[in-house]
């Protein structure tokens, strides 16, 4: 392999390692700081939070929740969640009323405060699309096919090298 190509590949590898280190650091920060992520799949909070963004929430005590905060509410079963802005509380702060910024009216029913998973700490653009894309059957099929193709190519290359190595040895012996 030529020196310049080798150097180029080394640089690529270095960049790849740096990116991975940064990603690992970020994931580690999310995990150990108690932040929980959600992929936003509806535009009800536009323009503040766009469809396809990822929001990261932190658990917040009831006393600290305020009107205007963006919170994530999880269903009692934990299988569904929505992220909207607090518009008001009931008198005892046991229920919270919410509204999507893009919606014309409040959500049809208040939510029990116990179902508030947390307040949105920050959002990252486009990251939510990962779960939508990678979770799709088409993507998984493409991924599986690519992996299979790579394994096949690798095996064939290996076989070719072995045969070439065997011929060389044969020639030397002769």
């Amino acid at each position: 392999m030529s020196k310049s190509l080798n150097r180029f590949l080394n640089v690529l590898l270095a960049i790849f390692i740096l990116i991975t280190l940064a990603l690992t650091g970020f994931v580690g920060y999310l995990h150990f700081s108690g932040l929980k992520g959600f992929a936003v799949i509806s535009p009800s909070m536009e323009p503040e939070i766009l469809k396809g963004d990822a929001v990261f929430i932190r658990f917040t005590e009831v006393e600290e929740l305020q009107v205007g905060d963006i919170i994530t509410v999880v269903s009692p079963k934990g299988d569904r969640a929505f992220t909207h802005r607090i518009t008001r509380f009931d008198s005892k702060k046991t229920k919270v009323y919410t509204k999507g910024d893009k919606n014309q009216s409040e959500d049809p029913m208040p939510t029990d405060i116990s179902l508030v998973a947390g307040k949105v700490a920050f959002s990252l653009p486009k990251l939510g699309y990962l779960s939508e894309t990678i979770g799709s059957k088409v993507f998984l099929a493409l991924l599986a096919s690519s992996v299979a193709a790579l394994i096949l190519i690798s095996s064939l290359l290996s076989l070719y090298k072995d045969r070439k190595g065997g011929k060389k040895n044969g020639k030397k012996q002769a």
């Binding site: 990603l23 970020f26 992929a39 509806s42 569904r80 919606n103 779960s131």
Partner: protein, 246 residues
């Protein structure tokens, strides 16, 4: 050789860690919430928060062909339903909350005589309860027994013998009372986990076209309107969000 081996191991390990990091974001649970999109021009579904309201067939631009003119306000009119053109759409709400469906009709130019009424299959039973549970009901019966959507109006649409009052009431019924924010006109509610046939009945007002009422069994369709634009808009079953403010 040792250097190459180290490079290969480093590449493989980095690739695995990278894939794990990507997987972390790929498995983020979704957060969706209540919102609505209008259904038009090739889109064939309403999305309401985590709910989905999917019409089985949809109408973008319909050719309305009506057999004869008729009179909504005439109490002696017994052929009203035969003079209708009905467009039907099947809507399915697979979510857990009721959805509300409004409709917008853009009539062609110079088609003032063309009127419409939105209803669903369940309205036949409601009309029967109001009139006579033992007899089958018609679209005319539904319109006749229907009062204003906004409780403050509470007035019947049809005023017998008075076309002006009848069509004024129909206009309010379809689009809401002017200046009343809570009244946004007629809509159909699709309950959760329900499939519903939503109908649009069109007719031509005899008072405007002024022709003799015809025997609908022997004449071909007489009043044709091409490309009538029909837009369904769905959202939460609550007041205040419609019409959509761009």
């Amino acid at each position: 050789m040792a250097k190459n081996k180290l490079k290969k191991i480093l590449t493989a390990v980095t690739a695995v860690i990278f894939a794990l990091c990507i997987s972390y974001f790929a498995v983020l649970p979704p957060t969706a919430a209540w919102f609505y999109v209008s259904f038009y021009s090739g889109e064939n579904k309403f999305v309401i928060g985590t709910l989905e309201l999917e019409p089985d067939t949809y109408i973008e631009e319909a050719d309305i062909v009506i057999p004869a003119a008729t009179k909504l306000e005439d109490p002696e009119e017994i052929e009203f339903d035969r003079a209708l053109h009905i467009e039907t759409i099947e809507a399915e709400n697979t979510g857990s909350l009721p959805a509300r469906v409004y409709v917008e009709i853009t009539k062609p130019a110079n088609a003032d005589e063309l009127y419409y009424f939105l209803y669903s299959d369940s309205d036949y039973d409601a009309a029967a309860d109001a009139i006579d549970p033992n007899r089958s009901t018609s679209v005319m019966d539904i319109i006749r027994t229907r009062k204003g959507q906004y409780s403050g109006l509470d007035a019947n649409i049809i005023t017998d013998g008075d076309a002006t009052a009848t069509y004024e009431a129909l206009e309010i019924y379809n689009h809401g009372a002017p200046g009343v924010a809570a009244d946004q006109g007629n809509y159909v509610v699709v309950p959760p986990k329900t499939k519903l046939q939503i109908h649009l009945a069109f007719w031509v007002d005899y008072n405007i076209v002024g022709e003799t009422l015809e025997d609908t069994s022997v004449v071909d369709d007489h009043y044709s309107y091409e490309g009538v634009e029909i837009v369904f808009i769905a959202g939460l079953d609550s007041d205040g969000w419609y019409p959509v403010i761009p």
